[in-house]
Subunit: 293 residues, 2 copies
């Protein structure tokens, strides 16, 4: 951060060091969970409220960033739940301001987990993938950040112990499959992920399947749009980070997301239930008792 | 689009060809205005409702994409107003689905304008920049799209006549400066735009200013995060497109956005007022009479 900056305005969060007492608001945060959709991250905060046995029903959780419509932020006990929108630029802005927030609030030993949705590769829709390595569209474990017009290559390593701990937690939740694999991160949902159904498409179904099979052979089990930047920025800033995404379809079988709203909503709860199990274990609360609703 | 696709689900808009009568809902749309913030695009639809003299006060405009929280969409007469979130990946998803929507709805002669916020370069905060050319972080008029792992370079040309028509309209609005210039599009708000105040910063204030001055000398007058992808995709799909952004600060003078909410809100209305003047002129309604509120 800028030396001598006497006030730090976290513009897109509508928070700041002069306008808010960040240590009082956030100093006890131990877990930060981030995901694309504001509604989903609100539902996660409500779910965690119940899982942690906090007072009240948690239905009226307040959006801490209500003064901005760029992101939504909720808390349940030591858990912060924040939306990041879609794509690397959107999550990067949020992470820069979140990491500054955690610094200003003097938080210690924070674990950060992205709980997202993704397209699967060769695995059943509804499977949950814990990312061991985030890779780019060439299946390389790197994130290219442009700094003053020059490309800087960064590592996309995630915390291996945390991934293993999550996999161990998943064994307590037998009703959906969970696996560890590489996650491919792209800058685009249509052409960048080899979809044939965008407004533009310049390749054949055969070329698409050849690309997706090469990804599978390189160890990729799901595709999303934030993991490389998330891994790189969290890694450089010393945050223990994990990526846990549910797959909404198997991309080897199609491009369109055709499941019903109800099925998709239940799929989206799966990473939440896994993260709740981890947080309950870390806090000594024992295994989860409540099904998500 | 995929040949033989019997149903097209526009997933992130929560619309589809089987579930919605897209020609009836959208066939008469002539103007599409897009911007990052859902609240701002709702306010723009309400403003256009009044500017077009439509029945009712327009305060209760409905979100056409209410079933999804990824984007918000409103309409006022022949004007569609849609949010796109922040960054190239987020706007790309929306544009793919919007362009398919316009195709399915059999819309003709649509003009599309991005009305956004940006950082200015060497111009007074609150100035409105009409983009002649969208350039990347090396000041080149190109957009690099990854397709099946390979980079495809695309033109970022915008409609010159539309830019000139907008500049002519701006002469009717004397209370803020409007100019034509290059717009630089980056993948990141902090390091990518040479800000010193992110969670990470590896360069000096001198290097930052040297980069920004080189951008100024190359003709860049503002910096945002969507214009190259917007220009490339609209251009390839035959949509006449413009980018009109207000500047919230002068980046040669600082990094943080320090203006009050009230000042920023008034700034954000400036591109809206310019676009309203264009639409009123095109529809033969004469110059705007109402100040924005």
């Amino acid at each position: 951060m800028t030396p001598g900056l006497c006030e730090d305005i976290l513009y897109h969060l509508d928070l700041g060091t002069k306008t808010h007492n960040l240590p009082a608001m956030f100093g006890d945060i131990k877990f930060v969970c981030v995901g694309g959709s504001p509604n989903r991250m609100r539902a996660f905060a409500q779910f965690m409220h119940r899982e942690l046995g906090l007072a009240g029903d948690g239905e009226d959780v307040a959006d801490i960033c209500a003064g901005s419509d760029r992101y939504a932020m909720y808390r349940a006990g030591p858990v912060l739940s924040i939306s990041h929108g879609m794509g690397i630029p959107s999550i990067s802005i949020m992470l820069h301001e979140l990491i500054k927030l955690l610094h200003h609030a003097k938080c210690r030993d924070v674990t950060i987990i992205r709980i997202g949705t993704s397209g699967g590769l060769g695995i059943k829709a509804g499977s949950v993938v814990i990312t061991d390595t985030a890779v780019d569209s060439s299946f390389q474990p790197r994130f290219e950040q442009v700094v003053l017009g020059d490309v800087v290559v960064r590592s996309t390593e995630l915390d291996k112990d945390l991934a293993e701990e999550l996999l161990a937690c998943s064994r307590e939740i037998p009703d959906f499959p969970t696996l560890i694999g590489h996650t491919m991160c792209t800058y685009d949902f249509y052409e960048g992920q080899g979809r044939l159904d965008g407004a533009l498409c310049s390749f054949s179904s055969e070329k698409k399947l050849e690309y997706l099979r090469r990804a599978y052979d390189a160890g990729v089990r799901n595709i999303e749009m934030e993991s490389t930047a998330f891994a790189a920025l969290c890694g450089l800033c010393g945050l223990k980070a994990a990526v846990v995404c549910v797959t909404l379809l198997d991309r080897l079988e199609g491009d369109q997301i055709r499941a019903s709203h109800e099925v998709l909503w239940e799929y989206q709860q799966r990473p939440q239930r896994l993260i709740a199990a981890l947080i309950r274990k870390r806090l000594g609360l024992g295994p989860a008792l409540l099904p998500a609703d």
